[in-house]
């Protein structure tokens, strides 16, 4: 089973990378870019468990490791 965990910065947390990319896109002349925030995705192959268990396991993974709950939010999707 394929799953994706997406981790993004909480609103209000400064994102120097996003800012830098925003600046770079603007100077490349990419039209209409107002702001950029960068996050991460984890594409995870899950095996030997049912959907409910998988969702539970991935939520645990996100909270325990993949996201830093002080500054980040996460979202788990089973595909």
């Amino acid at each position: 089973m394929k799953a994706r965990v997406t981790v993004t910065l909480k609103a209000g947390i400064l994102d120097p990378q996003g800012k830098a990319i925003e600046g770079a896109l603007k100077s490349l002349g990419v039209a209409g870019v107002a702001s950029v925030r960068q996050g991460k995705v984890f594409d995870i192959e899950v095996e030997g468990v049912d959907r409910a268990k998988a969702e539970q396991a991935l939520t645990l993974a996100a909270e325990k490791l993949l996201a830093n709950m002080v500054i980040e939010n996460y979202r788990v999707e089973l595909l």
């Binding site: 947390i13 400064l14 120097p16 990378q17 830098a20 490791l65 993949l66 002080v70 500054i71």
Partner: protein, 232 residues
């Protein structure tokens, strides 16, 4: 002084740290493997050294913070034991919840290795008693993610409680954005835990102790620890 340096896979400044501890205290520290669950008996000081634990491939320090040994480090800290967390160690301490906040990419997004100026905010701590408050020292940094960030409440709290121990400043000790090279909030370079027994800092005092190699401004941090523990 009985010190223990924790070795995580990918850590790489553990030798520098061990050498500095030996140089100043005369005693070899114990090197403790991340997969162990206990610290050597009688450990006074735990050091989380610099490097790239697990390649820093997720967030800096995130994977190391979940290593088995960290439970023992937490217990040591909870009992008031001293913890010195440098660079990657600082990142690990934040991820492990020993210190508040997080270290983000440097404002200019580049790894930077150079000497910086640090103002010592207070000398009434186990880590700085051999310095004068307000003194400016020169020590190297070497990191890509040292930009200290925390939410406004946390920043206000650690400032109010006087827990910011080091700040990046100009050589004369004045705050100056040009010298806050990584963009840290309030130019914060190092902070203390609530009980003031855990210090996390980005710069490397351990690289400035030996006159044969260069300046020695970092030496008094280790001398402070030695004298604190001797006094205890």
């Amino acid at each position: 002084m009985k010190s223990a340096v924790v070795v995580f896979p990918g850590i790489n400044r553990e030798r520098d740290m061990a050498r500095a501890l030996k140089f100043v205290s005369g005693k070899e520290p114990a090197m403790v493997w991340h997969a162990d669950s206990e610290l050597p008996k009688g450990t006074d000081l735990v050091v989380l050294p610099g490097g790239f634990s697990y390649g820093d491939y997720l967030r800096c320090g995130a994977i190391a913070a979940r290593a088995p040994i960290m439970e023992a480090v937490r217990t040591h800290a909870a009992k008031g034991g001293l913890v010195l967390a440098v660079c990657n160690g600082f990142q690990i301490a934040c991820e492990a919840g020993l210190l508040p906040g997080v270290l983000m990419r440097n404002a200019r997004l580049k790894f930077i290795c150079k000497e910086v100026f640090l103002r010592i905010e207070r000398s009434d701590t186990p880590f700085t008693r051999q310095y004068n408050a307000g003194a400016v020292i020169r020590v190297p940094v070497a990191h890509g993610e040292g930009n200290y960030v925390a939410d406004a409440d946390t920043i206000a709290r650690i400032e109010d409680e006087g827990r910011v121990l080091f700040r990046y400043t100009a050589p004369d000790g004045k705050l100056d954005p040009a010298f806050n090279f990584n963009g840290a909030t309030n130019a914060i370079a190092g902070i203390l835990s609530e009980k003031r027994n855990v210090l996390g800092l980005m710069p490397h005092p351990e690289n400035h102790v030996d006159p044969a190699v260069g300046p020695t401004d970092g030496r008094r941090l280790f001398e402070s620890l030695v004298s604190t523990l001797e006094a205890a």
